[in-house]
Amino acid sequence: MKVTRYIGYFSLLLTLFIFSVFFINLFEENEINFPEKNLPSGEIKTFDGNILDLDLLKKSEFSLLNVWATWCINCKLEHGFLMAKKTEGWDIVGLNYKDDLEQAFKWLDQYGNPYSVNLYDQDGTYGFNLGVSGAPETYLLREDKILQKHIGIMSEKVWKDKFIPLINN
């Protein structure tokens, strides 16, 4: 039946379309556009008890902002990567999110401190303005601009695929 044949071709086309979509998506994982926006300003507590105005924070040309917490298991898994980046000279701002300050101190003592500055966002207000939905999250910053955001564990692979292209631009 003619109708059946056309439906057959239509379904085949649809199936191939679906496959192409999947293929492209797998390759394009890296080039997700992130609408550039500025780091939200605000005042936030630091670990040593002071209040820091974020506009005054001196930032290198490229820096990272890492959202972490002691209640976040995946944060442990990306810690090694962050320490390595620190050794390479990268400036990482730590945003401790909805956490217990004492436990956070212990955590950094026990595992190492990869952060140049330690910010304490106890109730998540600053994180909300940033667009945080949980931990871990890592933001790539150029001075005051957020270039890219990664939700989940940071690794060499994510670094290479998502962040490096923007840094090299």
Binding site: I18, F22, I24, N25, L26, F27, E28, E31, N33, I73
Partner: protein, 619 residues
């Protein structure tokens, strides 16, 4: 040593499977006898089983030098969760998949006559076992620094349902390979008699397990997630629903093919569609193209290989299909009132629904590509809008479809009249029952189940009157979906809730329940501590206590809420707690009328499915 032995056994199974394919490749073309001995097939299954057991042993003995065990288990887990943790991640669940696939292959070998079927089954097995061995090895070692004690099984999974929901689903998914292989075998070998009834039986096996598996998932999400929802249109949920819909269409098509020798091309194509849609689901869950609470995190390379495997199966089967000679014996489909035509309507709508759901699930991915990376979501509004009307038509035609005759006997118009009379009678009586709550959705639900019930009742009456056998499995399956539709319709229309801050000893009211927050107690269990918040509930005729929990898991540092549920067929009282505040607790109390009917309906459907297998066993 044990992990290495486990890998060895898996490689052995892969080798047997691959040797069978290559060794018989030429026999395949010349249509000679296949070289297969029962011992080989037993050895094949045994290898997969032993491989699986080796991984289980690694879990139960807390062998954290194995990377997969370290990532998914913890020494403080109760032993039954250690057992189930094997399928808590990608690599292990693939091994479970292979185990069940090999089991079905063994059973098929013992019960069927087609060596071509075995050939295609081994092709699929080789592809996926190769995938596991080369890219997703669950036995990989973590040397030299195992994390002490292990990371922990995600607390969401530490639940009884986790021990049965994935295995049940996987039994269903793997069983879908059988209709596919049988269809391919028939395409190649026109002497495969009874291929359609073989195919139908295996479709039913798969469908029954899928029905049960999906229902378990829904029930589990309901009581575990603590929000009172039972279906979320999550990409992974959709990935199980789509194969289920196609499997339902497949069963009907296979029945028509085996009974009346028509629709054979449809049966073959639907078998292909069913297994492919389950592979697309597999891909979606594991490739990372969609994120969900259900997905396994995977790198794109593995996703790519998986996609290639699926594409290979698609192209390979289409080539075989195009070169096959499938002729139907009878071309006459009879009148519009014939059962053939109702089956056709049924299948067309089922396929449309499956494709629409698939489309909604992957639309965000499509949009992301064409919009240059923008992120959108497609959720409940779309899926509900698409599902309800199509489901309505499916239910509406089901009733008379059950009554219709194959075109070898004409369906008398008189039957149609009596059917509509019963339908109207049922609709009116049911609406009297729910007079207080009449609404559009109640009426729609009413019409849907009345259609199905009218058909079932009149069918049973006619069969008995003419001293013919009543098809119980068909009856139960269709009755089951009516029950499920009733549950869905009622709970969606009649549910109610209250969300507030509860003060100690101060009662609040929800419909005719009075709920009082009494206090809380701290408890410690094997791998978590918890706050147990107790409530006293008063109803017009009873009083009882309920405990809702907030659990804290130290290793993964996560917090879970366990809702307090007072279940009954008539309604569930569902209380979940939020945060503790100074004056009390944030509490959400919900009433879910007849929500249990949803899963009861699914159980009845599953029962109906399995029942049909016994019918054929005896004949």
């Amino acid at each position: 040593m044990i992990p290495e032995i486990g890998l060895l056994f898996l490689v052995l199974a892969f080798t047997i499977s691959s040797f069978y394919i290559f060794g018989n490749f030429f026999s395949f073309y010349r249509n000679n006898n296949f070289v297969i001995s029962p011992n080989i097939v037993y050895l094949f299954f045994l290898s997969v089983l032993l491989s699986f057991l080796c991984l289980e042993i690694s879990f139960i003995t807390d062998d954290f030098s194995v990377l997969y065990v370290a990532n998914n288990s913890n020494e403080n887990l109760p032993v039954y969760y250690k057992f189930a943790a094997l399928w808590g991640g990608h690599e292990g669940s693939m091994l479970l998949y292979l185990l069940f696939l090999s089991l079905w292959i063994l059973i098929y070998y013992l019960k069927s006559q087609s060596s071509f079927g075995i050939f295609f089954l081994f092709v699929i097995f080789s592809l996926f076992s190769g995938f596991v061995i080369f890219t997703s090895n669950p036995f990989e070692r973590l040397l030299p620094f195992p994390p002490e004690g292990g990371l922990d099984l995600n607390p969401l999974l530490q639940d009884f349902a986790f021990t049965i929901h994935p295995p049940t689903l996987y039994l269903g998914y793997t069983a879908l390979t059988l209709p596919f292989a049988i269809a391919m075998a028939r395409c190649v070998d026109s002497n495969y008699k009874n291929w359609a009834s073989d195919l139908k039986n295996w479709s039913v096996i798969s469908w029954s397990f899928l029905t049960l598996g999906i229902a378990l998932g829904s029930w589990w999400a309901y009581y575990e997630l603590g929000w009172g929802g039972w279906w979320f249109w999550d990409p992974v949920e959709n990935s199980s629903l789509i194969p289920w819909l196609i499997a339902t269409a497949l069963i009907h098509s296979a029945i028509a093919t085996s009974k009346r020798n028509i629709f054979s091309k449809w049966t073959v194509l639907l078998s292909l569609g069913a297994i492919l849609s389950s592979y697309i689901g597999l891909f979606l869950v594991r490739s990372g193209v969609v994120t969900s609470v259900h997905t396994f995190a995977l790198d794109p390379e593995r996703g790519l290989i998986l996609l290639f495997i699926i594409l290979f199966v698609l192209i390979f089967s289409l080539i075989i299909y195009s070169r096959s000679k499938l002729t139907d014996l009878s071309y006459t489909y009879g009148s519009i009132l014939s059962r053939e035509f109702f089956f056709l309507i049924n299948n067309v709508f089922l396929i449309i629904l499956a494709v629409a759901i698939l489309f909604g699930t992957i639309y965000p991915i499509i949009y992301e590509i064409f919009s240059g990376g923008k992120d959108i979501a497609v959720g409940k509004p779309y899926f509900d809008l698409v599902t309800v009307p199509i489901a309505f038509f499916l239910a509406f035609f089901q009733g008379f479809g059950i009554l219709s005759n194959w075109s070898s006997r004409t369906t008398e118009p008189k039957t149609l009249f009596v059917y509509f009379a019963i339908l109207i009678f049922l609709t009116v009586s049911l609406s009297l029952l729910f007079l207080n709550n009449i609404s559009i959705s109640i009426t729609v639900t009413n019409l849907m189940i009345s259609s199905i019930l009218a058909g079932l009742i009149y069918y049973a009456f006619l069969q008995i009157k003419n001293s013919k056998k009543v098809n119980l499995s068909m009856g139960f399956s269709h009755f089951g979906i009516a029950v499920m539709i009733l549950g869905i319709g009622l709970v969606s229309s009649l549910e109610s809730q209250k969300e507030l801050i509860a003060f100690k000893e101060k009662p609040f009211e929800l419909e005719n329940y009075r709920i009082t927050y009494l206090g809380e107690e701290k408890k410690i269990a094997q791998n978590f501590s918890s706050d147990e918040v107790s409530f006293k509930v008063n109803n017009s005729n009873k009083e009882f206590n309920l405990i809702a929990e907030k659990r804290y898991y130290p290793v993964s540092k996560s917090i879970m809420t366990e809702a307090a549920i007072f279940p009954s067929i008539k309604e569930d009282l569902y209380i979940s707690i939020g945060d503790q505040v100074e004056e009390g607790w944030v509490v959400k109390a919900q009433l879910k009328p007849f929500v249990r009917l949803i899963w009861l309906g699914a159980l009845i459907m599953t029962f109906g499915g399995f029942l049909s297998l016994f019918r054929f066993k005896s004949s």
